[in-house]
């Protein structure tokens, strides 16, 4: 079992590095959105500071959504997914590895870039750890929930819009908690409550989303 997980991780890693464009797309999108905002609304630090949490979170959310549309599509098109479903190994575990790998290359990269953009949007240094922590807890939830939608729309030729409609309502709690924590941090209030809630959502998504993704893929493959 451990060997399969490791081999799958290596396979995903190779596939990602041989198509670096797919890897960079969400990050470039994230960077573009965040860096265009100060140009559009002006360089006033107080205004930038009050907008920064929202801008960073919305950009991270949309970048995740953008990258998830094709998560299972190529495996579906070339028949790989059929072989996954037929394997005696648990499908939920394999999709969990795939989604976590995807998160490492998109979500985690955004988490690492976020302090830089925070500084650019005039966030005080003291609030940056909170920004990183909330993104670290929140982006896996975005990836896992989005993967449920990607699994359900895998059989459709262009599932992009449907995926957004399905998944955006589920993203709203994460968005509210994430930006709420940042607002609290900016006003010098405790953020523990928000962080605990985000942690809860992350645990819930980690434990339940793989089952839903696997079920969605089984339906997709039987079409």
């Amino acid at each position: 079992m451990r060997r399969v997980v490791w081999l799958l991780f290596c396979r995903e890693w190779r596939l990602a590095w041989r198509r670096p464009g797919d890897l960079l797309n969400p990050l470039v999108f994230f960077a573009l959105v965040v860096s265009l905002f100060p140009l559009a609304v002006g360089p006033e630090p107080t205004m930038l500071r009050s907008m920064a949490p929202g801008v960073i979170w919305v950009a991270a959310l949309l970048a995740t959504l953008l990258s998830l549309d094709g998560l299972f599509r190529s495996d579906y098109d070339d028949g790989s997914l059929e072989q996954w479903v037929l394997s005696p190994h648990p499908l939920a575990l394999m999709v969990l590895v795939k989604v976590l790998h995807h998160w490492l290359l998109s979500g985690l990269a955004m988490v690492l870039l976020a302090p830089l953009f925070g500084l650019m949007l005039a966030l005080p240094l003291s609030s940056l750890p909170v920004l990183v922590l909330t993104l670290l807890l929140g982006t896996p939830v975005l990836s896992l929930l989005g993967a449920v939608g990607a699994a359900l729309t895998v059989g459709l030729k262009s599932g992009g819009v449907l995926l957004a409609l399905l998944i955006l309502p589920l993203y709203i709690p994460v968005l509210i908690l994430g930006t709420g924590a940042m607002d609290a941090a900016l006003q010098g209030m405790p953020v523990t409550g928000y962080a605990l809630w985000l942690g809860c959502l992350a645990m819930l998504a980690l434990s339940l989303a793989p089952i839903a993704i696997a079920a969605g893929l089984r339906i997709g493959v039987s079409e």
Binding site: R14, D78, G79
Partner: protein, 211 residues
């Protein structure tokens, strides 16, 4: 692994509210080759996908060694014993033939690199081990997928149009391999438009004549 008898018990399949076949019953013993024939759209691929476990049957049962393959211990056995190679060969263009095979085999049981090289040689892809598959032709793609037949130890093979895009010499080699598998007690269920009459012990199931 020794195969057990496979029994289809009044199996039915409906797609888009159209009945493809109904009350299909059949018993396959170890060592048999079943060619599923019939016109396009008669449900050949659907039958194979139901047998593989990808598509739910609308009615009926499949038994493997007397136990249902749709749930429980029978399903576990079936998963470990049957190998399905479908229309889409599950070969990734960005990966090399060796990487593709090593992952596909690991889905059931990991194999050694040397074994993969040997299998690739048997399907005529010696020297192509390290080339990304998107540089290979359609026939070579199919050969990469079929190399699994030389690698994996499943006793029951379910093959959907395995000869597509393969040249004459390749077809002959594959036929020989299939006959050998059956002679060793294995079971093969396949669809193909290619005539298999010259092979020993081939049973035909004509989907066009079912209804």
């Amino acid at each position: 692994m020794k195969p057990l008898p496979v029994e289809l018990d009044s199996l039915a399949c409906e797609r888009d509210q159209r009945e493809l076949f109904a009350s299909l019953s059949l018993r396959l013993e170890p060592g048999e080759i079943l060619q599923v024939a019939g016109p396009n759209g008669s449900g050949k691929t659907s039958l194979l996908r139901i047998m593989a476990g990808l598509l739910p049957a609308s009615a009926g049962e499949i038994h493997y060694g007397g136990r249902s393959v749709f749930h429980g211990a029978g399903q576990e056995d079936w998963r470990r014993h049957r190998l399905f190679i479908g229309h889409a060969p599950a070969v990734k263009g960005a990966l090399t033939a060796e990487e593709n095979l090593s992952w596909l085999c690991a889905l059931s049981e990991p194999v050694a690199v040397e074994a993969i090289w040997q299998a690739l040689e048997q399907v005529g892809l010696r020297g192509f081990e390290d080339i990304p598959c998107h540089n290979l032709s359609a026939g070579q793609h199919r050969r990469v997928a079929l190399a699994r037949l030389y690698l994996e130890r499943h006793p029951v093979w379910i093959l959907d149009e395995p000869f597509t895009a393969i040249d004459k010499a390749g077809v002959a080699a594959l036929e020989k391999h299939i006959v050998k598998h059956a002679a060793l007690g294995g079971m093969v269920i396949m669809t193909t438009h290619h005539g298999l009459e010259h092979l020993p012990g081939v049973r035909q199931l004509d989907m066009g004549q079912l209804n």
